[in-house]
C-alpha cells in the first residue's frame, strides 16, 4: 500500500522533530506534583505537566478524570469552590501562582478562560467584551472601542456583529455566543487561554470556526484545551496529555501520542476501547 507507506514514512520523519521542538520551547505554564482535593476526595494525583509557549496543549481522558479540575487550577478558579485544597507548585513564567501574596485578580487577567457552556452576560455584545477591560479600570471610550473591535476580529465574530454591537448578547446563536466568550476572554489581554470543551455544544461548522480560531490564536497565546473529541485534539493541538482517574498517564507531541502511544491505557482510550 503506497499510501500507507507514505504515511508511515512521513510520520517517522516528523515525530522526533515534533517532540524535540516542543521540549526546546520555554514552558509558559508548568505544574509540579500537583495534588488536588475536593474535601476528602482527591481529584488530582501528583500532576507534573509543562505547557510550552505559543503552543496548544490538549487534555484528554474519560469523564471525571480531572481535566476540568486541572484546568481550573491554572487560573485558580477552584478557589471559588469551598473546602478545596491544592498541593504542589503551579508556575506561570516560573512564578508560583499559589504563592503567598499572589494576586488572583491579576492572574486571571493573564490566564483567560472559556467555558464549556457559553455564558455571555445578559448585556449588549459591546458590554460583554468591554467588561474585562472595564473592571481593569479602563474608562476611555476610544480605547474600549478599539479593544472590542480587535477582540471580536480575533474571535472571527466582527463581521457578523459589527452592526449590532448594542444588541443583547443573548440574541446570538450558540456558536456566536461561544465566539463572543472567546472575544471577551481575549479582551483582557491574556497570555494563556484555557478552554474547557469550547466546542462541545456546537454544530460542525461553528466547531470548525473555533478550531481555525485556535490555530490562529496560538501565534500569540499559549492555549490549553480540554476536549472529548480525539480528532479535534489531533487537529488543533501540538501536545496532548492523557488523564486517567486523576493521574497524568502520558504526555507527548500530539502526532506521537496518537500514532504511537507508550502506555496501554492511552492506546485503549484513543482507539475508543473505553471512556
Amino acid at each position: 500500500m503506497p499510501a500507507n507507506l507514505e504515511a508511515n514514512l512521513h510520520l517517522t520523519d516528523v515525530l522526533p522533530h515534533a517532540a524535540d521542538e516542543l521540549s526546546a520551547l520555554a514552558q509558559k505554564v508548568a505544574t509540579k506534583a500537583v495534588d488536588f482535593f475536593y474535601g476528602d476526595h482527591q481529584a488530582l494525583h501528583g500532576i507534573s505537566l509543562g505547557m510550552p509557549i505559543h503552543r496548544v496543549t490538549a487534555l484528554i481522558g474519560p469523564s471525571g478524570c480531572g481535566k476540568s479540575t486541572f484546568l481550573r487550577c491554572l487560573n485558580r478558579m477552584n478557589d471559588m469552590i469551598e473546602d478545596t485544597v491544592v498541593r504542589g507548585e503551579i508556575l506561570l513564567d516560573g512564578e508560583d501562582i499559589y504563592r503567598r501574596g499572589a494576586d488572583v485578580v491579576e492572574l486571571r487577567k493573564r490566564v483567560g478562560m472559556v467555558f464549556q457552556k457559553s455564558n455571555p452576560f445578559p448585556k449588549s455584545i459591546f458590554e460583554n467584551v468591554a467588561y474585562g477591560p472595564r473592571v481593569a479600570g479602563i474608562r476611555d471610550r476610544g480605547v474600549l472601542n478599539e479593544i472590542v473591535e480587535r477582540s471580536l476580529k480575533q474571535a472571527a465574530l466582527w463581521d457578523e456583529v459589527q452592526n449590532r454591537l448594542r444588541d443583547s448578547a443573548l440574541q446570538l446563536s450558540g456558536g456566536q455566543q461561544q465566539r463572543l466568550c472567546i472575544a471577551r476572554a481575549l479582551a483582557t489581554g491574556p497570555e494563556v487561554l484555557l478552554m474547557d470543551e469550547p466546542a462541545s455544544a456546537l454544530d460542525p461548522k461553528s466547531t470548525a470556526a473555533i478550531e481555525d480560531l485556535i490555530f490562529e490564536l496560538k501565534e500569540t497565546y499559549t492555549i490549553v484545551i480540554v476536549t472529548h473529541n480525539m480528532q479535534q485534539a489531533a487537529r488543533v493541538s501540538d501536545q496532548t496529555a492523557f488523564f486517567f482517574e486523576g493521574q497524568l498517564i502520558e504526555v507527548g507531541a500530539t502526532n506521537e501520542l496518537f500514532t504511537n502511544p507508550r502506555e496501554k491505557q492511552t492506546e485503549d482510550y484513543i482507539t475508543g476501547r473505553f471512556g
Binding site: 483567560g112 467588561y131 474585562g132 473592571v135
Partner: protein, 293 residues
C-alpha cells in the same frame, strides 16, 4: 355496567373524583364571592366620600361628613418612606452577605432558618419589641422614626428572603465568567449580580412595603395616635397617625356616619395597595421577558 367496567371495579371512584372537583370549585367561588361582596360593600359606602376635600382635610370628632384623612395619609406616606429607607439597605445588604459572602456552614443555616421563622412572627410581637426597644430603651418616644423602625422589623424578613431569592435566580455561570475575567468579588456583585437581580428585589421590596402600609397592630402597640389633627412635621418628636389607625378609630365610633368615612379611607388605602401590587406584577413580568438565560 359500563361504569363498573371502566373504573376497574370501583364504581364510586369517578363519582368521588367529580364530587371533589365540585367541592374545590365551590371553595374557590366562595372566596371570590366573599371578596367581591367585601369590595362592593366598601366601595358602595365609601366611594361617595372620596373627594379632594376628604384627602386634604383633617378628621373631626364631631362632624363625620367634614372629616378627612390628611394627617393619617401624610403619616402613612412618611412612615413608608422612612421604613423603605431603613429596611431596603439593611435587607438587601443582609441578603447579599448571606448569598454571596457567607461560608456555607451551620452558622449560616442557623441564621437562614431564623430569618424564615421571623417572617412568620405576628406583627404585634414586633410592635411590643418596638415599644420596648425604640420608644423606651432608645428613647425615641412615639415618633415617626420609632414607628418606621418598628415596621422595618416587621418587613425585614420578607425583604431579606425575597432579595435572596432574586440573587439565587442569577445563574452561577455569570459569577464564574465575571471572576474568570479578573473581576473582584465586589465588581462581580456590583456590575453583574445586582443589575440582574434588581427587578426581582424591587418586586419583593414593593410587596413588603405594601404590607407595612396596611399594618395597624404594631403601631397601636407602640402607642401611635388613632386621632390626630396635623401631619407630623418632625420625625423625632411629633405625634403621628396612619391610615389603618384612622380607619380603626372611625369604625369603632358609635356614630354610623363615621363608618362611611372609614369606608372612604379604606377605598383610598386599597387603591394605593392595589397600585403597588400592580407595579410589582408589571416589574416581574417585564423582568421575565427581558432576561431569558
Amino acid at each position: 355496567m359500563s361504569l363498573v367496567q371502566r373504573s376497574n371495579g370501583r364504581p364510586y371512584a369517578k363519582l368521588a373524583s367529580n364530587l371533589f372537583a365540585i367541592f374545590c370549585g365551590t371553595c374557590m367561588w366562595l372566596c371570590i364571592a366573599t371578596l367581591v361582596l367585601l369590595l362592593w360593600n366598601i366601595f358602595s359606602h365609601g366611594w361617595g366620600r372620596v373627594s379632594f376635600d376628604f384627602i386634604s382635610s383633617p378628621p373631626s370628632i364631631i362632624f363625620p361628613e367634614k372629616s378627612g384623612i390628611r394627617p393619617a395619609l401624610g403619616g402613612s406616606i412618611y412612615l413608608i418612606g422612612l421604613t423603605a429607607l431603613f429596611s431596603v439597605p439593611i435587607g438587601v445588604g443582609t441578603a447579599i452577605y448571606l448569598e454571596e459572602y457567607a461560608p456555607n456552614n451551620r452558622w449560616r443555616t442557623l441564621v437562614q432558618t431564623n430569618i424564615a421563622n421571623l417572617a412568620g412572627v405576628p406583627s404585634i410581637v414586633y410592635g411590643i419589641l418596638g415599644l420596648g426597644l425604640f420608644v423606651r430603651a432608645l428613647n425615641l418616644g412615639v415618633s415617626l422614626v420609632a414607628g418606621a423602625l418598628t415596621l422595618t422589623l416587621v418587613i425585614l424578613p420578607i425583604i431579606i428572603l425575597s432579595a435572596q431569592e432574586a440573587l439565587r435566580a442569577v445563574p452561577h455561570s455569570i459569577r464564574t465568567a465575571s471572576h474568570a475575567l479578573g473581576a473582584t468579588r465586589w465588581q462581580t456583585i456590583w456590575h453583574q449580580v445586582l443589575p440582574a437581580a434588581l427587578p426581582g428585589m424591587l418586586t419583593g421590596v414593593i410587596l413588603a412595603l405594601s404590607r407595612a402600609l396596611g399594618e395597624a397592630a404594631p403601631l397601636v402597640a407602640i402607642g401611635a395616635a388613632t386621632y390626630i389633627r396635623n401631619v407630623p412635621s418632625n420625625m423625632f418628636t411629633d405625634e403621628f397617625g396612619a391610615l389603618p389607625l384612622q380607619i380603626y378609630n372611625w369604625t369603632d365610633h358609635s356614630d354610623k356616619d363615621f363608618h362611611v368615612a372609614a369606608a372612604g379611607a379604606i377605598v383610598i388605602l386599597l387603591t394605593v395597595l392595589i397600585s403597588m401590587n400592580a407595579l410589582a406584577i408589571v416589574l416581574r413580568y417585564r423582568f421575565s421577558k427581558r432576561i431569558q438565560w
